[in-house]
């Protein structure tokens, strides 16, 4: 490809790629790599601005404390795992169905797509705003149901430990499903129509087409989007922070939320750094395991 063409001056070309990636690389070194390294460094330190007399090298004591003497860590880790699995599983299932539906040809398809995808653009805090209005016991949905004779007045799903998890799940689902639907729809449109036509000639019905053409084709997209979303759901704290604040009684505290509380409110930055390190390693390990198990990018036979 690059043989006889009159490329603009060779010598400058050799430096050009470095000049082009320089802004991105510098920004990422300064604001992602450097903070990451400082987190690693502080994870081996006692560092607490409210107790400066104890600051100094701490060895692995922060880590031993995490694994042996911190029930909140295990509780928040368990909640994070449950949150990620439930959210990603449900979002994928609903997103897949939704993408298959709006990929059909029907009247009003354009407007239907725009409407069902719209919560994608909504922020965590705005989702909280909307669902707080819906969950509010005196003016929310339950009040109108109670007016109609269903349920009782004054039930607040957000302060009841039995319902708060699913209340939060539903709110996050509302804004999370469109992400999967958009990605899967994009990939659906790259399936050659000829495959379906050939299958029709062979007498395949639409369930067989779904099973043998559509789903295998979508595999890589599904693996990648579930991974991205899983990491995102693990890391993102906006919704839970504003909707439940991690409560009631620490019931909905995810690991990042616990870290933020420890570092920002508790000022215990050394310990928060150790928690961050552990969270990062867990995340990386799970991601690699997931890619391995799903044989991402492998051939589809």
């Amino acid at each position: 490809m690059a043989i006889a063409v009159a490329k603009p001056s060779r010598r400058r070309d050799r430096r050009l790629p470095y000049l082009l990636i320089a802004p991105a690389a510098l920004l990422m070194l300064g604001f992602i790599a450097y903070p990451m390294i400082s987190v690693l460094y502080y994870s081996l330190q006692d560092y607490n601005v409210t107790k400066p007399w104890r600051n100094g090298f701490a060895g692995f004591s922060n880590f031993t404390r995490i694994f042996t003497d911190d029930p909140l860590f295990w509780q928040s880790l368990a909640f994070s795992a449950r949150w990620v699995v439930v959210e990603v599983g449900l979002q994928l299932a609903l997103g897949l169905v939704l993408a298959l539906l709006v990929n059909q040809t029907f009247i009003g398809r354009g407007i239907a797509r725009a409407l069902v995808f719209s919560p994608w653009a909504v922020s965590g805090v705005l989702t909280t705003t909307i669902w707080m209005l819906l969950y509010n016991p005196s003016t929310g949905f339950s009040r109108y149901l109670a007016d109609a004779g269903i349920g009782t007045y004054g039930t607040s799903v957000l302060s009841d430990t039995g319902t708060v998890f699913w209340a939060a799940v539903l709110a996050e689902l509302w804004r999370g499903v469109p992400f999967f639907a958009i990605l899967i729809l994009a990939d659906l449109q790259s399936i050659p129509k000829e495959l379906y036509e050939a299958a029709s000639v062979d007498g395949a019905n639409r369930y067989r087409k779904l099973l043998h053409i559509t789903l295998p084709h979508l595999r890589d997209a599904i693996v990648l989007s579930t991974l991205l979303r899983g990491v995102w759901e693990f890391n993102n704290v906006d919704l839970l922070y504003t909707l439940t604040g991690g409560g009631p009684a620490g019931q909905t505290t995810t690991l990042p939320l616990y870290v933020a509380n420890t570092g920002v409110d508790g000022h215990d930055f050394g310990y928060a750094s150790a928690l961050t390190t552990v969270a990062f390693v867990i995340l990386l390990f799970c991601s690699i395991l997931y890619l391995r198990l799903s044989k991402f990018g492998g051939d589809r036979t």
């Binding site: 063409v5 070309d13 725009a114 069902v116 705003t129 958009i182």
Partner: protein, 300 residues
């Protein structure tokens, strides 16, 4: 450029000669696999209810007078909007959020365009390390970086400046944006650019004349991503902006949520103010969003 589009178009159309000339209609039929209409409309209708009722609920609370329990937004009042915009300073928050959103959009798109071009068109030492860095940074939680980032911005004396949020947003948008844009650029045939060079264009002019126009949908997708994300982001603004006149809409909403006695009308009106720009952006880009992704984004 037209050659590239034609090339793409040809792949979508079945081979000539076999198909009758009305290909457009045939192609649309091909998606219709004979699913009964009710199996589409019923589940879609139910899902639409789930999507739209929450939006309706917010609008309802935003326009109905305080104390009303009506389920229809009539008679409507603007009192809640006037209140959040003036008394609760949402006018100022709106301005700040706009500044952050537009600045992030510009910086992210420009920086990612440079990086993406380098990845798509050059082989150079350190390229795979750079790629690895991009991928790994996807796993680093922004929420866990709050404290070290705070220290950095304090040292740079950018705490309480909108620039801290703009920089942080840009940095966390960059990896995905670069990966997406380099995917888009790879889809533009190299031969097009080489043809421009033969015609005497410099690399830069050739890029502007040949690649940029084809990239437009992809750039719009990436740029609106950056805008929507920074418009929506909460934690950075909450942490880095301390004085009230610098804060952004999500922080303002959080203040309303956390108030001792929540003013639901004001909260709903604030929510509508927060939603309007992203809804407009979304309505504008949602078609490009899907084509942008299918242009090789997910497959890298």
């Amino acid at each position: 450029m037209t050659a590239a589009l034609a090339e793409k178009g040809i792949r979508a159309v079945p081979p000539a000669g076999i198909t009758p000339p009305r290909t457009a209609r045939r192609r649309r039929r091909a998606v219709d696999d004979g699913t009964p209409r009710w199996q589409i409309y019923l589940p879609l209708g139910l899902y639409l209810l789930f999507t739209l009722v929450p939006f309706y609920w917010m609008l309802l609370f935003a326009v109905r007078p305080a104390g009303s329990t009506s389920l229809v937004p009539w008679p409507a009042t603007g009192e809640h909007f006037a209140k959040v915009w003036n008394e609760r300073s949402f006018g100022m928050y709106f301005q700040n959020s706009m500044l952050v959103g537009v600045a992030t959009l510009i910086t992210t798109t420009v920086v990612a365009l440079c990086g993406g071009y380098a990845l798509a068109r050059f082989r150079f030492r350190g390229k795979s390390a750079f790629m690895l860095g991009l991928l790994c940074s996807q796993f680093i939680p922004g929420a866990l970086m709050l404290v070290p980032l705070f220290e950095i911005f304090r040292n740079l004396q950018l705490i309480n400046s909108l620039w801290s949020v703009i920089i942080a947003e840009t940095v966390f948008q960059l990896p995905l944006s670069i990966i997406l844009i380099s995917g888009f650029i790879k889809n533009v045939p190299m031969a097009l650019e080489e043809a421009a060079w033969v015609d005497g264009c410099s690399r830069f002019r050739g890029f502007c004349a040949v690649v940029l126009p084809v990239l437009r949908p992809g750039l719009i997708a990436v740029g609106s991503f950056a805008f929507v994300h920074s418009w929506n982001h909460f934690l950075f603004a909450l942490m880095f902006l301390s004085s009230q006149d610098k804060q952004t809409i999500p922080v303002g909403l959080n203040t309303l949520i956390g108030a001792d006695s929540v003013d639901l009308g004001a909260l709903a009106a604030g929510g509508v103010v927060a939603a309007v720009p992203v809804v407009i952006v979304f309505a504008f880009i949602q078609k490009w969003l899907i084509t942008g992704f299918s242009a090789g984004a997910v497959k890298g």
